[in-house]
């Protein structure tokens, strides 16, 4: 085998190993290569996953096809293994037209399909029925945000709308830092802000990402279908602590969520520092009951 053919094998390795790597990533259950998107718990965003897989399949086919052709031409037309004269061809008009039109059609169809997916996720804000009680009429109101996340160097500050269901009023419930709670199976709207520099609020499990811009408010929406703890990740360089902005997204049943909000409200003015409980704010800790007189005592 000539040296030239050995080189062409090197180029064959690219589509072979590349495809293999992707397949392992997608389907392996364990091991260092078992890396793929986390579970999607946002039913409003399943289209995103489907779109990704569709595009990946398309480009996978093109990748294998063109890389394979690259290998094949190198193998077949290697001067050292091939006595034929080179074909004196300057091009082929019709071929050019076909291989311009066909990819164009595929890409345009893809582009149009993804507009709809995108509009559902980012443009069509959830609406509530207006005075007439009918959704889809002209007096619909945008659903107001029920929680607010303020990104600041290097933490997430959370607030929930209080009894009046409106943010930015004095009855807002101050949330625990870096921990956002949400009830399942409800379409939730949130407001994102930044206190100092740009941050970006990313919950991989919800396929939700939006930058937080100081001086403006961003509206996002999602539904969470599965209880559990998920990660919140900052995805806009915000300084040296960018990597530390770890947050936890806790999805609970609506009843648990209400109980959580109640507990937060109580914590605003009831907190025991008795030194016995290791963490006055641990989820398992019961807040102390209100007493008529306080003790502020210390051992001399």
């Amino acid at each position: 085998m000539s040296m030239g053919r050995i080189w062409s094998l090197l180029f064959l390795a690219v589509p072979v190993l590349g495809t293999l790597l992707f397949l392992i990533g997608m389907f392996a259950q364990s091991g260092p290569l078992a890396l793929w998107f986390p579970e999607n718990i946002n039913p409003l965003a399943t289209e995103i996953d489907r779109l990704h897989d569709l595009i990946l399949a398309l480009i996978g086919i093109v990748f294998i096809g063109t890389s394979g052709a690259l290998f094949w031409f190198l193998w077949k037309y290697d001067a050292a293994s091939n006595d034929q004269a080179a074909k004196f061809v300057h091009g082929h008009h019709r071929l050019e037209i076909w291989w311009t039109i066909i990819p164009s059609i595929i890409l345009v169809v893809l582009a149009i399909y993804q507009f709809k997916v995108y509009a559902d996720v980012r443009i069509n804000r959830p609406m509530l029925a207006g005075a007439d009680g009918q959704l889809g009429t002209s007096d619909d109101q945008p659903q107001p945000p029920s929680f607010e996340v303020v990104g600041r160097q290097f933490e997430w500050r959370i607030r929930y709308a209080g009894e009046d269901q409106l943010l930015d009023t004095a009855d807002d419930v101050i949330g625990e830092v870096n921990e956002l709670h949400a009830p399942t199976d409800q379409r939730l709207v949130g407001s994102l802000k930044a206190a100092d520099v740009l941050h970006s609020f990313f919950i991989p499990a919800l396929r939700l990402k939006n930058d937080m811009i100081p001086g403006s408010r961003q509206i996002v929406w999602f539904e969470a279908s599965k209880p559990g703890n998920y990660d919140i990740v900052c995805t806009e360089l915000c300084g040296w602590g960018h990597y530390k902005m770890k947050g936890r997204f806790v999805v609970q049943s609506p009843a648990d969520f209400e109980e959580y909000l109640q507990r937060l409200r109580k914590l605003q003015f009831e907190r025991s520092y008795d030194g016995q409980s290791p963490d006055p704010l641990s989820p398992s800790g019961e807040p102390a009951e209100s007493t008529a007189a306080m003790k502020v005592s210390s051992r001399p």
């Binding site: 500050r157 914590l267 003015f269 290791p278 306080m294 502020v296 051992r299």
Partner: protein
Amino acid sequence: MLCGLMVLAGLSLPGCEAPVATYQPNLVQAKVLSEKNSIDMEPAVRETRQALEDLFGTPDDPKWPAVLAGEEHLADLVSLERLKRAAGPVRSDEQDQHFGLYREHCVHCHGTTGNGAGPTAIFLNPYPRDFRMGMFKFKSTPFGRKPTRVDLARILREGVMGTSMPSFRLLKDEDIEALIDYVIYLSMRGELERKLLAEGANLDIAAGEHLYDPRQKESAPDEFAAQVDAIDEMSLSVAESWEKAQDVTLTVAGPPADYPLYTRDFNGTPEQRERLAASLASGRKVFHGNVANCATCHGSTGLGDGQKNDYDVWAKDWLQPLALDPKNAEQIEPFLKLGALKPRNIVPRNLRSGMYRGGGQPIDIYLRIVLGIDGTTMPAAALKPDNPLGLTQEEVWDVVNYVISLPYEHISNATAGVPPFAREKP
């Protein structure tokens, strides 16, 4: 390929020899003592360093002083096992237990020695805490006392809002416990160092009076024993101050039952709102009155502009003994070179911003008023019955209500009803 391997080897050679992390001596304190007493502190610094290494070990290999391990009531102040988890380089063992926690999470702001002067410190506002004075701002113990473990745990879990201290609530409980141990360890080490340096300033080491000279273990065992005893005394007194704090019981469950509370009542029944209005009026009066004197520092409109020229105790610690002028670059320069951070004015909180570093819950504001803030000029309020001229509990809660209402108060050009911190562009 061979060339490649050689280059790789060459590149990794510097890596093979990881520099050993060491504690930095408190040279700022040494210089203050040196100038104040007109002596050469170098021998004292040397001996202090030796004593501390023998007692407390190194950043990679911490030790717990034997005298403290021997006392039963001090034994569980700090656990050597937890110290070892927090100390040393970042690594994990087979059980996925994390080691080197301090270096992973804390060192770049608080510094290896806990002196609040890590590589990032100079860029932060406010500066990270210097543990070595044993003083902490936001806690539940009275003014001048050490914080409890629970207080430290709270700071670690919540962070300090409005500063660069982040929240570590997502760390495992055992990791947080280990870090608390390490903070106490660094703080005690730092305090002991200050005591040793102060003692060393009184000795004439050149003439033979030693602070801690291990060479005398063989040659003059009695003298050495005396030195060790003196140092043990100092260690004990520092440890006792921590131990006492753990015993403080501060049960604050909330305002008196059915007392008006701003966040609950501002939108409540007309009766609730009326009582709240009365509470706010009372709070405003106390705020501007001359028992609490809040407006003197926080300003007549609560913007924190009452006075802005003071410095915190960590800065005054090295400025005041020598009456240095913080604005005089020439006077400050030698201390900055030794590791001090450029002094910054400590500014009273702008109460209209809605940002409270010790926490924004009503209970937190209550504690700041009642306990004061160590290291700053925020004093503990005078309270009845201990002080007949002081405030009643109800008055304190009135002030709390008033303070919480300030961000929502309509002042000229402010967006009504929305704290500036949370405002969006229209």
